[in-house]
Symmetry: C2
Subunit: 416 residues, 2 copies
Amino acid sequence: MISEVRQKATWAQEAAAAMNRMTTEQKNAALSAMADALIARQDELIAANEEDLRRGRENGTSPSLLDRLALNGDRIAGIAEGLRQIVELPDPVGELLERFERPNGMKVEKIRVPLGVIGMIYEARPNVTVDAAGLCLKTGNCVVLRGGSAALSSNRKIVEILKDALGSTALPGDALQLIEDSDRASVNEMLKLNGLLDVVIPRGGAALIRNVVENATVPVIETGAGICHVFVDESAQLEMAASIAFNAKVQRPSVCNSMETLLVHRKVAETSLAELLAPMLQANVEVRGCPDTQSLLDGVKTATDDDFATEYNDYIMNVRIVDSLDEALAHIRRYGTKHSECIVTETIAHAERFLQEVDAAAVYHNVSTRFTDGFEFGFGAEIGISTQKLHARGPMGLPALTSTKYRIYGNGQVRG
Amino acid sequence: MISEVRQKATWAQEAAAAMNRMTTEQKNAALSAMADALIARQDELIAANEEDLRRGRENGTSPSLLDRLALNGDRIAGIAEGLRQIVELPDPVGELLERFERPNGMKVEKIRVPLGVIGMIYEARPNVTVDAAGLCLKTGNCVVLRGGSAALSSNRKIVEILKDALGSTALPGDALQLIEDSDRASVNEMLKLNGLLDVVIPRGGAALIRNVVENATVPVIETGAGICHVFVDESAQLEMAASIAFNAKVQRPSVCNSMETLLVHRKVAETSLAELLAPMLQANVEVRGCPDTQSLLDGVKTATDDDFATEYNDYIMNVRIVDSLDEALAHIRRYGTKHSECIVTETIAHAERFLQEVDAAAVYHNVSTRFTDGFEFGFGAEIGISTQKLHARGPMGLPALTSTKYRIYGNGQVRG
């Protein structure tokens, strides 16, 4: 018997040609219908969500995770509004990227096309189910969703509502598939579906992403892991440095573009380390430091090599004092995950070297790392933040969900 | 002890920052020095190549493979000329792709950067060693080359000559690495070097590519497999159709953009199948056909399901008679490898549907599939032809060997 995963991926694959033909208007009408349906049927959705919450409470899920899982009228309105914002974004599909004629008279066009079928593998929050469906359908793709088991009842209801809504539109209902099998094996089966899935995008914690990268034979867009640094250079304006570091650490510690390690030039540290860290300590951030940090500041735990290599996603940070820009660059080269890196300096030559030499998706001069985000860059909703160098890097807006195709027109050209 | 593969990849990784700083002039000077050195030391190279040829003859290698392996003065001059052509190509690195300012005043730039370290895994021909080195270095990348064991002596000498040439230039010699361990395990070790290699590009036969796709945890750009079709529609000009089909099959059967299967509309087949296939039979192409083909033409073997799914790379082809454009599209959907597909027709609506609906890197109207090639598209030398949809699709010119990076400039912006 065919497995659920293979069956649903096959249905999605079979719907890909029809999706590829949809006009922008047809896709936008479908997204609007999806948004309307989520609002109209919010009571059903809240009831389904309550099942997930009850199961979570029974299993001892932490209050903060339960909060991320919970849906209510306001949150559903926000999710529906997210779909309407995707309607407003320009449709990249069909865009003519290049057009040229060759000496033999053949005309070549390069145009944007959908990727085909996208596999999304993600964790708890049910809003990702709607976001991913909206972004993939807007770009003419089919999508096979595999969310976390903690949100299964919510996700099942969401996909039921969205598929029902598609029924009144031009879009094929099979373009949207949810894998309900919550066994880990269903993820691993998805990862090997070459020929049915064109790409797999994991979105979640480090373990989820590592499993996908290590086991997928389908092409992967790696997202998310962020060990981000702020380097306070000798010439930094102290107030600006303190403000950027505080924002990068504390404004939302749980996300990938938050800071894990503060690198401080020795000259700044000697005069102002306590001032730089005071707001952190007030916000109950646990500070772990190198020996030099410990000698300048009381009550700082030792930051181990493992600490420098950890994405805390929490109110914990490392501090390391460095002698030079070069030492800061070497530290970032060793521990960074190529996500977002910042230098605070008034020395233009140092800023230029940092922005040139640091190998990361986003490199900042005098700006908090927290801005690595599709909305903040003005791209609108994002399917994730790519930390790999192939295909897409940084916040992935709609064009990251497309491929290209060459169309060649001639009148009998053959190769000599 | 560290393995050869890991050691050399580490050296390449350590050279990446220096490569990233090289100017276009410095890179071009290095490529020119490499070309000069190949010419100046051609006698050494021919002697090394003779070792490979002798070993090949002893092992019973076929004359055609030995011919592909052989180097002589003319071929070396051609290879050196290839490097000089890469010098002439525009350098994509540093190109400003986007620039915008956000309402909070931060300025965002998206620029092209090198990928970093590229792993190339390929088979026999030693010219690939030079091409890959030239393309990767021109784009500011380091490269770890792993060629076939049949060309090991040639490849070792080529890399010795190229690295010696780099010694007189600004480029770090470690940017260029050759894996000499000819055990298959060295390939599989490369495929898992996440953190040292940014991408692996396989170039070779189906088995090599399948091994890379199935075992790599490093991102892969899949190249090469081509089961390409020519569909002769009801309204096709017969002479043009015969000429295109013949060119697509016979001009160079061993390459990926050659035709494996000819699809013929029933109306054309009934009147003109013999005429369409006459040039093929004269060129000693073995024709395998569907039952309808067999009933129209004597002496045609049966084309099995496996035949339709085989890339012959040889003087063999399949013929299938179809009732409609839809049947042709369905056949291509089932057996095509998303490489290059052609329709010969005078019916514009059919051409438009074919070019829209066929999911392939290059789709042709009244042009031979043989044009899917970097030189033919005017891109210059290519590192391969991508048959996947991520990152690059079709002939990969220099921009396919780059990634991007966001540089953000501000004056203390923090996220609210």
